[in-house]
Amino acid sequence: MLKRLRENKAFQGTILAIPTLIFMVGLLIIPLILTAIISFGTRSPDGNVIYGFSLHNYARIFGISSECQNGKSICFDPLYMQILGRSLSLAFNTTVLVILMAYPLSYFIARSHPRRRNTFLFMVLVPLWTNFVIRVYAWMMLLRTQGVINGVIGWVAGLLGLHFVPLEMIYTPGAVLVGMIYEFLPFMILPIFTSLEKIETPLYEAAADLGANPFRTFLRVTLPLSMPGVVAGTILVFIPVMGTFIVSDLLGGKQVILVGNLIQRQFLDARDPTFGSAASLILMVMTLIVTYFYTRKFGFGEEIISA
């Protein structure tokens, strides 16, 4: 056994993977199977699960409704599809905006003097020391109708003698977008920074030497070589944005309901775990599909690990 451990690399790997494996099976695979089972059940009147095999939860998400007006027995209710669509487009917008904001900053940090680089990275990470929810609360304070931003603008308007109607910023899709960007920006900056930092100065010089101006150097050298970082960051941002509900809950209120909120409410308010489970699985499958096509096109960002 010890001899095998010493000599067999694959066996060593297996041993090292065991703790994680136990963790994953116990806390991910089994709960996932349970979720699937529950999603095919029916809700009892007192909010418990009656096990069985029924697809009505899924039908409901896809908009097939039996609570119809004008006497029909079946009709289309787009409510849940709208929620899914909203989540998808918000996750997409957030990811794109986060890439656009993170890339230049990462580039700046990667090209800055090594001594200052750590300071900058530290500053990127500082917000993560505060609890996720508290950071969202901070944005509530800023965006509220009686909040800091309106306060400052109102004060300036007052000095100028202008009439100012406070802006309605909170409980809008924009507020949720801002909150998401803020929460997930560091998860894009770090991988992009890592891949940019790996590009050695002589490569930029070689490109310039061969006649590439800075713009073409960026397109032909910098960008392709940093794509692994962008891909890794996208995965780190897109997936959690699809699922999170705190940001939309606090900054979107009843106006901006995402899949995450839907699921949370099914479990806590509506007490329908069967519908909540079905929605969870749909969310998962949707995320998987998007990620699958994305990574098929751009790879997994594995070079960032292997290089």
Binding site: E200, P202, L203, A206, A207, A208, D209, L210, A212, N213
Partner: protein, 369 residues
């Protein structure tokens, strides 16, 4: 058009040090590199070779002075607008591109037509014996092959000047020797001016038309390999290029390109050719190459002839290295083994009394610095 491919006109390059001071990486350097010349910058580590090359390429700008390429002062012209290409020491190949794409990169930047790109890249890869490797990625090549890609990528643009920063530094000795000859042949075939940086004196001597010997940011001597080896203008150059014996003394007379130096330790005057700047009364170095000293068992001349005792010998096949102690000075003599003998006595033995003759025409008197 200018006669010179590249000129450095009294160039200074200063870098700030972390301690807050300034370091002169290049200190008042002037060079004139002729069209079609294989020009080497040679010097020990940190003497400013790379910095000089980078100023020609445009990666650095001179603190003072001017870089002129083909008659055009470059000022702050960025690298991508200069008619020069560089072969980097680390090769700096684009890992995300194939060999073909790497070589084609420079042509695409110049908007060369696709068919011409294929043609020129193919020719260029042929020239460095990499045809058939175009589809590979740099990671799938050996060090020597990567080096060739770097070379092909730079020559495909047929620049006026090719800059090479220790391009063979990472190769093993055998491959390096091969590549030296290939590079030289390539340079002659293409007629491109090569500016070659190396700290390997043998490499510089083999390949160059002219060499600039640098030390501490300054050019000490510029000349053909023969000039540098046979007429070093100061002790540093004589010592850096090849091997030399040195004696130190006071200049007694200088006349008609010859000088006489009194050497206290030998209590004798040594005659030799003046090489570099010296004047009467100064201390000077007497330099003579080990292969140029004559060893004999009897005194043959009364000038420049000294008695000594063999202190050690090394037989190295073609030569015997004989170390002779002359009144406390250890003198190296390389005797060519012109006869074939199994008798150890034929190769001098320790303790033997010998006479050294330093022929004045082979002996150089130079500044002691």
């Amino acid at each position: 058009m200018s006669e010179f491919a590249v000129e450095l006109q009294d160039v200074i390059k200063q870098f700030p040090t972390p301690e807050g001071g300034q370091v002169f990486a290049v200190n008042h350097v002037s060079m004139q590199i002729k069209n079609g010349e294989f020009f080497s910058m040679l010097g020990s580590s940190g003497c400013g070779k790379t910095t000089s090359l980078r100023m020609i390429a445009g990666f650095e700008w001179p603190t003072e002075g001017e870089v002129v390429i083909a008659g055009t002062p470059q000022g702050h012209t960025p690298p991508f607008k200069r008619p020069v290409n560089t072969v980097f020491q680390s090769y700096a190949l684009f890992q995300h591109m194939t060999v073909f794409q790497n070589v084609a990169f420079g042509l695409e930047m110049d908007h060369v037509a696709k068919s011409e790109v294929n043609d020129r890249v193919g020719k260029s890869l042929d020239m460095v014996q990499l045809s058939g490797m175009g589809k590979r990625f740099p990671k799938q090549l050996s060090g020597g092959q990567q080096q060739r890609v770097a070379l092909a990528r730079a020559i495909v643009k047929t620049p006026k000047v090719l800059l090479l920063d220790e391009p063979l530094g990472a190769l093993d000795l055998k491959l390096r020797k091969e590549m030296q000859l290939e590079l030289k042949a390539l340079q002659q075939r293409l007629g491109i001016t090569f500016v070659y940086v190396t700290h390997d004196q043998e490499e510089a001597l083999t390949m160059s038309d002219r060499i600039a010997v640098m030390s501490f940011g300054k050019v000490l001597q510029m000349g053909t390999p023969v000039e540098i080896y046979e007429r070093p203008n100061c002790k540093f150059v004589a010592d850096f290029i090849g091997t030399s014996n040195f004696l130190h003394g006071t200049v007694k007379s200088v006349e008609n390109g010859k000088a006489s130096v009194y050497i206290q330790e030998l209590d004798a005057e040594v005659m030799g050719l003046v090489s570099g700047d010296i004047s009467v009364g100064e201390t000077a170095a007497v330099s003579i190459r080990p292969e140029k000293i004559r060893l004999s068992e009897q005194s043959a001349f009364n000038q420049n002839c000294f008695e000594g005792v063999v202190s050690s010998t090394t037989y190295i096949g073609s030569d015997t290295h004989v170390y002779v102690n002359v009144k406390g000075n250890r003198i190296k003599v390389w005797e060519q083994n012109k006869i074939s003998s199994l008798d150890p006595k034929a190769y001098y033995s320790v303790g033997q009394k010998v006479w050294l003759t330093l022929f004045p025409e082979n002996t150089l008197i130079m500044a002691d610095k």
